[in-house]
């Protein structure tokens, strides 16, 4: 994007009454190859391109995008947005007074660019996954796998004089294994991803991930059901962190706070969790799937302590949220693409490691559920209500892990669960995932050590 064109847009927008304007130009190239039923069934690649234009009138957001970087197209968009604001303007405005900060440290080093490796380089890796999956058991009925890479190049300019750019290359392997026996089926998967180039695929132990998925699918074929009721739960490390992400992370975003749609409003400095809990949202983990050097407003990211020893320290904020909620800005503005205005979102969110072991947690539990792997879930930040699927579960009987169970669901309210996390393990792990919210789907990691929750409602049969 031409700086002179951008300056013309800023000048015209400020003259029309906006307090702040930013332009977000993005070109993303992504490519994937997938295998299923012993065949390379799909190879696809594509280019996304556009420029998002955001006007802030205080904290009122006016947003639009175009696929052209010409002066005519951008000025036409600006005119439309100003007119829309003119028609829709109702209510008071806050003054906008934030200024740009320091240069960001890089979050990745690419040793092998995916476009140099080429799509064909993915084929032998997929065939290795297939071989490893079918080798686990005759009960493995299908192995499907895919390798995906994307390179996003962005430029962000704003009316305060900011001009930054960033490139983010992400790579991800996904494998899904279906096991079948006597008419029963179970599907299990693994999806490691990172902020790195093709070297991630070169160095990844594809066989290990595939075997893990296949063994879980076979193991869960013979799983029974658990009766539903409240009981102690031990949540496994890694993706178990999705509960914190959904039930507590989203309600800590200023996007929920500014709508007063969170149970954590006004609780900064207060004890909101068990004192053993420290939770962090960190954009600075080098090479991690959820990391960013700069956020999607151009601010360098940071490591944000959300909860420390049970006390709420910080919310997750963006420019608008920081002004409106009068909180510190945390470099957490994110968006799926130029098609969305940026809002406060998570990056790499995890509960910090504690000192307990799994054995510590099992001791004293006469009847409970051990959930080493969760599926997905959802939350309503306004009420705190959440629900999650347990992909792999085991009964706990008299302090020991017993038979596998399937089809269990965990439900509750985030702010009610936090005080009941009584033990935090020493085995922190973080896992790649995708998070969907008002600014689209963004790559995040979730994580935790193994945790013990003294009581949670388990849905079962």
């Amino acid at each position: 994007m031409d700086q002179k064109v951008a300056d013309d847009v800023f000048e015209a927008g400020l003259a029309a009454g906006a307090d702040f304007i930013d332009l977000y130009e993005e070109e993303t190239r992504n490519a994937a190859v997938s295998l299923r039923d012993h065949k390379i069934e799909n190879a696809t690649a594509g280019i996304e391109y556009g420029i998002g234009l955001r006007l802030l009138y205080g904290t009122d957001v006016v947003y639009g995008y175009t696929s052209s970087d010409s002066r005519d197209a951008l000025m036409k968009l600006l005119t439309a947005l100003v007119a829309a604001r003119g028609e829709s303007a109702v209510g008071t405005r806050y003054a906008s007074s934030l200024r740009q900060q320091s240069i960001a440290a890089p979050m990745q080093t690419i040793r092998r660019r995916p476009e140099d490796a080429g799509q064909a380089a993915k084929l032998p890796l997929l065939l290795r996954a297939e071989k490893a999956g079918y080798a686990v058991s005759p009960a493995v009925a299908q192995v499907s796998a895919s390798l995906y890479d994307s390179t996003k190049r962005i430029s962000i300019l704003n009316s305060e004089g900011l001009s930054v750019s960033d490139a983010r290359t992400r790579t991800r392997f996904s494998v899904s294994v279906t096991a079948e026996k006597d008419g029963e089926r179970f599907v299990a998967g693994e999806s490691p991803g990172t902020l790195a180039g093709f070297e991630f695929f070169d160095e990844l132990n594809i066989e290990d991930y595939t075997r893990t998925a296949a063994e879980r699918a076979v193991r869960m074929l013979s799983a029974g059901y658990i009766e539903g009721k409240k009981m102690p739960i031990i949540l496994g490390n890694g993706f178990g962190g999705v509960i914190f992400h959904e039930a507590c992370g989203h309600p800590l975003e200023t996007e929920a706070l500014r709508k007063k749609a969170t149970p954590f409003a006004g609780k900064q400095g207060q004890l909101i969790a068990h004192p053993s809990v420290t939770a962090i949202d960190d954009g600075t983990i080098f090479g991690s799937w959820g990391s960013i050097a700069i956020d999607d407003e151009g601010m360098p990211t940071e490591k944000t302590i959300l909860i420390e020893n049970g006390i709420l320290k910080n919310y997750i904020s963006d420019r608008v949220g920081a002004i409106e909620c009068n909180v510190r800005r945390t470099g957490s503005a994110r968006r799926e693409s130029y098609k969305y205005a940026p809002v406060s979102r998570m990056r790499n969110t995890y509960i910090a490691a504690g000192k307990h072991t799994l054995a510590d947690m099992l001791e004293g539990v006469s009847e409970g559920l051990y959930a080493p792997k969760l599926g997905g879930g959802s939350v309503n930040p306004a009420t705190g209500e959440f629900n999650f699927a347990v992909e792999e579960g085991y009964r706990i009987k008299n302090g020991k892990i017993a038979e596998p169970v399937r089809g269990a669901t965990l439900i509750g309210k985030g702010h009610e669960i936090l005080p009941h996390i009584s033990m935090v393990g020493n085995d922190l792990e973080i896992t790649a995932g995708m998070c969907g919210a008002s600014s689209g789907s963004v790559p995040v990691t979730v994580g935790q050590p193994t945790l013990k929750v003294d009581e949670m409602l388990v849905g079962g049969r």
Partner: protein, 443 residues
């Protein structure tokens, strides 16, 4: 370059290239929306997007690529990518659709009011909705999400055998969510809907219904653990049927991921159930004359009076099973063709929902929460739910903090009745209330 010009250009490039056959999908979309909070506009958006995707075949191998950049150079790169992908994939048994006659009905949904409605109208509606929601009941403590918008879109299809199809749609939509408090308990009720005419939106009582859904849940508590007869109201029944639509897709059966494989002609459900893929209902949102691969669509019974009578096919699955495709391919610009219902419709029964719940103890469910515990492959259902407990037709208490557990294929057989009532959503899913016995409830 406009999308129609881009498609024509891509077609010319493809014809001149080394590919044997090709098909192209594209879209052009536009929308405007406002969101309000506490009497002021918090978000205003204008969205305009277009993209094009091409699937090429060379030596029976497919390759796909897409682009949002509609310049001649970008289209050339896109085609080149697609052709290079034909060297990676394995051969398939199908190619692009032949030119066959399709329904002559025009399924475009165009609004006579579209160009006459502007941001000031959308803003006024949204502000009115928020004010109404805040004022209806003193237990309403917040109205965090209220908005209105208009959208239009055109989808395009063209292939190397002369099949060409366009479909255009416009609509106005509005929504509101209200949060109510009773003691320490908070509940959020949400209602949204769309219509072709902006002038029809106020009559939908959007704010009133959001507030009703909030208030009716205050005081909710779990019910005792056990097996219940559940009435999935028409607010929730469509969600259940949509979550489990993939077992009816031939491509999933071929892969061994459908429990219905080999079960055509069997009674898989209660005789009360007739399930259709209804492609030619002019008023329903999903109606089309051709599917995502250009194949003519048709109305198709999937389950008739409990008997499983048809899988849904795209070109690939049809070629493998050596049958005719059913016109149920779905496709985005960036993906390979999948399968889907055109409009997922369950035929109505002859009693109202109130009549179905009139006798005995019935757990009436009108909200489902999260679907991660639902597997269309195994049929497992484990899902959070809210609603109320009914005894002999009398509403006893609102219910929350429960999970429902069952298996979809058992539920099909345990359907005791289908109501005569659909909800009023402008949608491609039309399912009446479903009364289903034997569902495990944990609370």
């Amino acid at each position: 370059m406009k999308i129609s010009e881009a498609i024509a250009t891509m077609a010319d490039l493809a014809k001149a290239s080394a590919c044997d056959e090709f098909d192209i999908v594209g879209y052009d979309s536009f929308s405007e929306s406002v969101e309000v909070f506490e009497g002021k506009v918090s978000n205003t958006e204008i969205q305009s997007a277009s993209a094009i995707g091409i699937r090429t075949f060379k030596n029976s191998r497919p390759g796909i690529a897409f682009t949002e950049k509609l310049s001649p150079d970008a289209l050339k790169i896109c085609l080149s990518d697609a052709l290079s992908h034909t060297e990676l994939t394995d051969p398939v048994l199908f190619t692009v659709a032949d030119l066959q006659p399709a329904s002559g009905i025009n399924f475009d949904h165009l609004s006579p009011e579209f160009d006459a409605v502007g941001f000031s109208d959308l803003t006024k509606l949204a502000i009115d909705l928020e004010n109404t929601a805040r004022s209806l009941d003193k237990r309403i403590e917040n109205v965090p999400y209220t908005g209105a918008g208009r959208s239009s879109g055109t989808s395009f299809f063209l292939n190397s055998r002369g099949v060409a199809y366009e479909h255009a749609a416009q609509e106005f939509s509005a929504y509101s969510a209200a949060v109510g408090m009773l003691g320490e308990q908070k509940k959020m009720g949400f209602y949204s809907n769309s219509r072709l005419k902006f002038s029809d939106l106020p009559g939908l009582r959007i704010a009133e219904r959001a507030v009703e859904r909030t208030i009716e849940q205050l005081g909710a508590a779990p019910v005792p653990h056990g097996k219940y007869t559940v009435l999935f109201t028409n607010r929730a029944s469509g969600q259940i049927m949509s979550l489990y639509q993939s077992p009816y897709f031939a491509e999933l059966a071929i892969r061994g991921q459908s429990r219905l494989k080999g079960r055509l002609g069997e009674m898989i459900a209660s005789p009360q159930l007739t399930l259709l893929s209804q492609a030619h209902a002019p008023l329903l949102k999903g109606s089309r004359a051709r599917d995502g691969e250009g194949v003519p669509t048709r109305d198709l019974d999937v389950i008739r009076d409990g008997k499983f009578v048809n899988f849904l096919y795209n070109l690939e699955a049809a070629a493998i099973d050596k049958v005719a495709p059913t016109g149920n391919a779905v496709r985005s610009v960036s993906s390979k063709a999948g399968t889907g219902f055109k409009n997922l419709v369950v035929a109505p029964g002859n009693k109202t929902a109130a009549e179905l719940a009139a006798a005995g103890t019935v757990l009436v469910i009108d909200k489902l929460e999260g679907s991660a515990g639902c597997s269309p492959v195994s049929g497992e259902l484990s899902i959070g739910a809210q609603g109320y407990l009914s005894v002999d037709g009398k509403r006893m208490q609102p219910v929350d903090r429960i999970t429902l557990s069952s298996n979809y294929f058992e539920m099909l057989k345990n359907i005791e009745a289908v109501s005569s009532e659909y909800n009023d959503q402008y949608s491609s899913v039309r399912v009446p209330d479903l009364l289903i016995g034997g569902i495990s409830v944990a609370g």
